[in-house]
Every structure is written in C-alpha cells, then in structure tokens.
Symmetry: C2
Subunit: 201 residues, 2 copies
C-alpha cells in the first residue's frame, strides 16, 4: 500500500512535469494529482529535490520496461545486435502517450539541470548507464573495436537521440523522420567501426 | 537611440534567460536589467511572446557574428570546406561567457517550446536555416552527394550539437570532450558521403 502510493506520487510527478514542466511543479499540485496529502509526499521524498531525483529514476526505469516489453513482442529470429541496438534507440520515438510523456519529462529534467545544479549528479549517472548499455550493444555488433571508441560512438548516438527528441517534441521533426535519421546514424557509426576494426569481415 | 535601447532590451533578455530560464522571465525584471521602463519593453515587443521571438532571432544573429569573427581571425590558407564546417560547429563549444550565455539561452528557448507551442514556428525556421547552412558546407566538401543526403547529414550534425550542448552545460561532458565528439562526428558523416559518392577520389 505504501509502495502503491509512492508509485502513484511518482507517476503523478512524471505527468505534471510532462504537462507543465519542472518549473511548474508544486508539491500541492502533485499531491492533488496523485490523490494523496502533501504530508505523504514529503514523508516519501523529503523535499522538492528528492521528488525530482526519484522521478528521474522512475522515468528511467519505465523507459527500460517499455523497451523490454517491446523486445519480448518481437518475432523470434537469430539475435542480431545491430537490430537490437536500432530497436532500443527507436523505441524512444513512438507516438504513444506513455512514450511521449516519458520523453517530455526526461527532456525537461535535463533542461532544468542547466538551472538547478543539484539535479546534475543523478542525471549524469543515468546518462552514463545509458551510454554503457549502448556501448555494450555496439561491442556485440563489432567485438574488435576498443572500449573508448565504442563509448565515444555510444555518446554520439545517445546525444543525437536527445537532440532529435527535442525537435520531435517541438514539431520540428515528424516521428517518422526522427526515426529515419536515428536509424541512419546507427548505420553510419557501425559502418565506421566495421571498416576500421574488422575490414576483412 | 531607439535602436540602442531595443538592443539593450534584447541583450538583457538573453542574460535573464541564460541566468534563470524562460519561465523565470518577467517583463519587470527584464526592464530593470536593461535599464528601461516596462512601457518601452511593451512598445518595442508588444508582449512576452514578442520578446521571446525577437530574443531567439537576436541570439541566432549573435552566434553568426561570433562565428564570423573567429573565422576572420584564422590564419590565411587554402579554403577547406571540411575545416570550415568543423570550425563553425566547434565555435558553439567554448568556455567564454558570451558563448555559454548564448548556448544556454538557445537551449532554454528550445526546451520551453515543448511547453509553449507559440515559440515553435520561429524556432523551427531558425533551425531550418542552420541545417541549410551546414548542408551547404557539406556540399562544398562533397559536391557529388545529392541534396537530401546532405540535408539528412546536416540534420544529424546539428541535432547532435544540441544534444552535446545540453550535456556540456549540465557538466555531464567537458568542453574538450564535447569538441572531440563533435569533430569525430563530422569525420564520420563526411567519410560516409565520400565513400558513397566519390569513392575513387
């Protein structure tokens, strides 16, 4: 029950942030959104910074979950790390309310960290985890490439995804075009890795 | 004189946005920052939306200017479109107060457009102009590549720059590392263009 309410507060925080931004987040509004008292919000998360930190974690976990679900739904076939990588990156561009809400809230927390330095360590940690996940998929696709090269490639792909995401969410790009650019970027990066590290394959 | 005050207001708006964000922008504070009356702010820019739109244009022009100045300062040498492209993209990553303020304000206007749809058309127009400038430099570097391919490449490079910029401004990346990733991205994109369209050159 305590866990249910805790989750309800975090779901509410993600909704409020995606609707009005981090700067629009008031604890009173969040409590009303989650259907709990402000005291309970403070009990679970201590203060506004605690709410933001845990919302960041919640959004990050939720993205992993819809990623994993969609993977489970794919038809069986030989495991292909390149397809796996494309799939995991492209899942961030879907016209589904949950994905849009998640991307909006994540982008807004990132943008807010420019003005709220206390958000930066958690954001940097979440970003680093993501870079390592992408680098691991690149390593499966091109095992001969050295770790720093794979990491740099993963940093570019994830930073590109964040840049494209903001353009998508502000209608500067359609979801279809954002997906096409992202897919090509995977091809460009993997192409370079293969030519450099497995030229005879 | 009217022009001076108009410029002073726009400079003040860029400073306030870079310091506290778009959501923190109050016309009273902006007037105080620029040393003018609120009436004069409204006279020049009509309303808050007008201020934001013109600040966007001002920031964009200012970036073109410091870009052009730095180019003028470079030693003479044979014109190399690839170096020119690198230079124009890397100028966005400099630990100088003006560059940092400009990048912060631009990123914040972009992030705000997720929540303020009236900012989107001007932002999309500025973004498109930038993509075309980068595509034109890519075309000089690889004249054989068709326009849609060059545009897609320019879209990736500019979106990557925006993603890296937010990471830099939130201390997730050093300026040196952001520059290295950006320079490599130019190499990766141009490498692909050359292999595909001028393989025998």
């Amino acid at each position: 029950m305590a866990t249910d309410r805790r989750t309800a507060i975090l779901e509410g925080a993600a909704r409020v942030i995606a609707r009005r931004g981090v700067r629009g987040l008031r604890v009173e509004e969040l409590a009303a959104e989650a259907g709990v008292s402000t005291a309970l919000v403070y009990y679970h998360f201590k203060d506004r910074a605690g709410i933001l930190r845990h919302t960041l974690e919640f959004i990050s976990d939720r993205a992993d979950r819809y990623t994993a679900e969609a993977e489970g739904a794919e038809p069986d076939g030989p495991y292909d790390p390149r397809l796996e990588l494309e799939r995991s990156l492209l899942l961030e561009f879907q016209d589904l309310p949950e994905v849009r809400e998640n991307s909006t809230a994540w982008g807004e927390l990132r943008a807010s960290a420019v003005f709220e330095p206390e958000l930066r360590p958690d954001l940097a940690r979440a970003g680093l985890t993501w870079v390592h996940e992408v680098a691991a998929l690149l390593a499966q696709a091109c095992p001969a490439a050295p770790a720093p090269t794979l990491t740099a490639s993963a940093e570019r792909l994830t930073a590109l995804l964040e840049g494209l995401s903001t353009r998508w969410l502000t209608d500067a790009l359609t979801v279809t075009h954002a997906r096409a650019l992202m897919r090509e970027a995977v091809g460009v990066e993997l192409g370079l890795l293969h030519r450099t590290w497995t030229p005879d394959a």
